[in-house]
Symmetry: C2
Subunit: 436 residues, 2 copies
């Protein structure tokens, strides 16, 4: 028989055991903060009707559809009629349509789970990856305080996960951009080109906007390069263009900044940045992008954007026939962690999830060791492994060492000895208090 | 434009908001108990090379493969060469093969996540469903204490999730069955028919074993109907057949029962039952099935088996070329919860994940309300929502009511009033202590 190729398919990543401990820790903290702010986890199917994805602008080249290895009569669906989600936003819109009457609005939900995109696989780009999203959907209207809340939550998560790491959440408002463009470009369908041009400026500062008059291009650069404190930029914007739509966008941005301060986000963690455009068509107001900062305070451009999102005024409308404004933000977790491991900004977690392990000096002591394990779990409430295999004590120690378990409880015929690595003396004492 | 069909595709279920709160709670408890016993969560890709699934006996009619809606040159894989996992066991074997040198043996891992099977969709049968598995894989050998540990963990999980619910984990050993069959049936490839016959006896007590001599069928019935306490059955088995292989199986079963007692599993929660066969080819020793009990102590057969598993001596061998005995157990979570909701054994959780909500009497008080929210989260460490929308206080109360949030903190111009539902007076007092 030909040898099987057991490697993961290209684009479908798998973390090592030590890396997975970090993944687990991050997901736990992210879910905790989401829930603490009133965003319960809601799961939707991985699979939906293909037509609902293409109706919401999914790229047909990137959409994966389901087929069966050997179809039979049980499968009565036309080919390619079932597809795998490529984000969590379309499934959210479908969930809202399906459960509309059950929901209290504003409806908040979080999700942590995989999506798939048939992109060309390359270093750090995956075809399956976890996204962690929060969204809030209003019925008819939705306060701008919700736009600020997204920033509060993201800032809290990263302060917990990477307490030493400086970061900034850059914010902008699409109303400001589109009103500004409209003065030069009468065809709104051309706005996307300008948005892409701005999106691209960070990577290619010398790029040119094809087909645009030079004075427009210069004015765009003058605009996006506006810098200073948040208040200085807001002041400049108030004078930059005397246009109602433009100033409505400025007023929204000012209101979001005001909420951010009232909600206690540190000034260093958010920054108005007019270059943030977010190419996606459906954003209509606030847009965000978060970046890590280098030690000198500059943007870590190598890592790119850590999370992003924005306000969309009509995502679920096509499915519900109702006006349902929403705002959301998303952490691209798999890609982010992959990059953080790759850049050695965070290290895989070598120590085990178990606080302690129980070893036994000879096979007939297993019974006693099992009792010690049971008591440790019940009385101390700690995570304790029992070693079960009737192997020499040296082998048992080698296992504990390889697993990185910091405390070892060694069951002998006459005594129970507790050994702990540096920093775990307290736990050692607690255990000795029970078995000493 | 034709109206879109937004319903979930057949076989791809979605729980309501109230049901999802239960799903979340169950997953949290299950993960906690898994980790407490030294089984860290390890995630593997949803997608593997199709050949690795078919090599391990996946049913080709049930295997879903990936295709792209519009293929392009980026996709260079042959059609149907990538498939979606139908269980967590084959991905585990692949993970072990891929990370062999990194692992400490016995290698323990848990997983909670979706799998897909292209079964005919019917009431309570799904094409995508979550399974919660634990497995331990030894290198060369693996103590039977591991077989007992599976039962300990499952019993602990259900004692936490359904404290009032009686249940039993029925155990058997495949060595006993196969040695017994071998006395009548020389062709081991026929064993599967007998196993299926036994598996089926619970549903069809009058079924006949096609093609078997009547004395064999009678002897099977005499065998599987052996009843009594665990010790009585073990005693009967010791006398039932004087055959070395048979008695080896009995000795294993006896050893597992002995460990179960040493590990503190209540006698009422496990029962030797010789009808438990588990049709799957790869089980070679201990097998389990768990059932809920009715109030009168009989098996709840309407619900069927809640979780199941067993010992397999060579699951990863085909991928690694090594002898890697393992034992595992699996909770079919989606199907189980669907049935428990359907039978009203558990109720969807109506109350919100938030402990409290902050309402405000007039729009200009939002700023004060935001500060109260921030302080509540920081000082009290509770899960607090802020209501953000500038709506009348009655509308705000209606939202809190629909969400089932038990404590409301109402911010007025001159005071902060706390209201609590019955049973939440302590939290009310705590909050008043901060803002009173």
């Amino acid at each position: 028989m030909a040898k099987l190729n057991t490697s993961t398919p290209s684009g479908f990543p798998e973390f090592s055991v030590a890396e997975q401990r970090v993944v687990r820790h991050w997901k736990k903290i992210i879910a905790e903060v989401f829930e603490k702010h009133g965003f319960p986890l809601i799961e939707t199917p991985l699979v939906e009707r293909t037509e609902n994805f293409t109706a919401k602008g999914g790229n047909p080249k990137e959409i994966y559809v389901l087929d069966r290895l050997h179809a039979d009569s049980a499968d009565q669906n036309p080919a390619k009629s079932r597809a795998i989600r490529f984000d969590h936003t379309v499934p959210l819109a479908l969930f809202v349509a399906r459960h509309f009457n059950e929901l209290a609005f504003p409806f908040r939900r979080s999700v942590i789970g995989p999506v798939m995109r048939g992109e060309r696989a390359q270093k750090g780009r995956f075809r399956q990856f976890d996204q962690c999203d929060i969204d809030v959907i209003g019925n008819g209207s939705l306060s701008l305080a919700n736009d600020a809340q997204m920033v509060v939550i993201i800032a809290e998560i990263f302060a917990k996960l990477m307490p030493e790491q400086k970061f900034v959440i850059r914010i902008n408002n699409r109303k400001i951009l589109t009103a500004f463009f409209a003065g030069f470009q009468q065809d709104p369908s051309e706005f996307k080109k300008i948005l892409d041009f701005i999106d691209n400026l960070e990577k290619n500062p010398d790029a040119k906007l094809a087909g645009a008059p030079i004075e427009f291009q210069e004015r765009i650069l003058e605009f996006v390069e506006m810098s200073g404190t948040n208040d200085e930029i807001l002041e400049n914007l108030a004078k930059f263009l005397d246009d109602e739509d433009f100033q409505n966008g400025v007023a929204e941005l000012r209101e979001v900044v005001s909420y951010l301060r009232q909600m206690g986000v540190a000034e260093e963690n958010f920054q108005i940045d007019l270059r943030i455009a977010r190419g996606l068509d459906y954003y209509t107001g606030t847009v965000y992008e978060m970046n890590l900062l280098n030690a000198d305070g500059t943007l870590n451009t190598a890592l790119g954007s850590i999370c992003s999102g924005g306000r969309y005024d009509d995502l679920a409308g096509i499915f519900t026939g109702k006006s349902l404004p929403g705002v959301g933000i998303s952490i691209g977790l798999t890609r982010l962690l992959w990059q953080l491991f790759d850049a050695k900004i965070i290290e895989p977690q070598k120590s085990a999830t178990s606080d302690a392990i129980i070893l036994f000096r000879s096979p007939e002591l297993l019974s006693k060791a099992l009792e010690v394990g049971r008591k440790s779990r019940e009385i101390l409430g700690i995570s304790v492994e029992n070693y079960f295999e009737p192997k020499k004590i040296q082998k048992q120690f080698a296992y504990a060492e390889k697993m990185g378990i910091p405390v070892r409880i060694i069951v002998g015929e006459k005594d129970i000895v507790v050994e702990a690595k540096e920093g775990f003396e307290d736990l050692k004492e607690k255990i000795e208090g029970v078995f000493g």
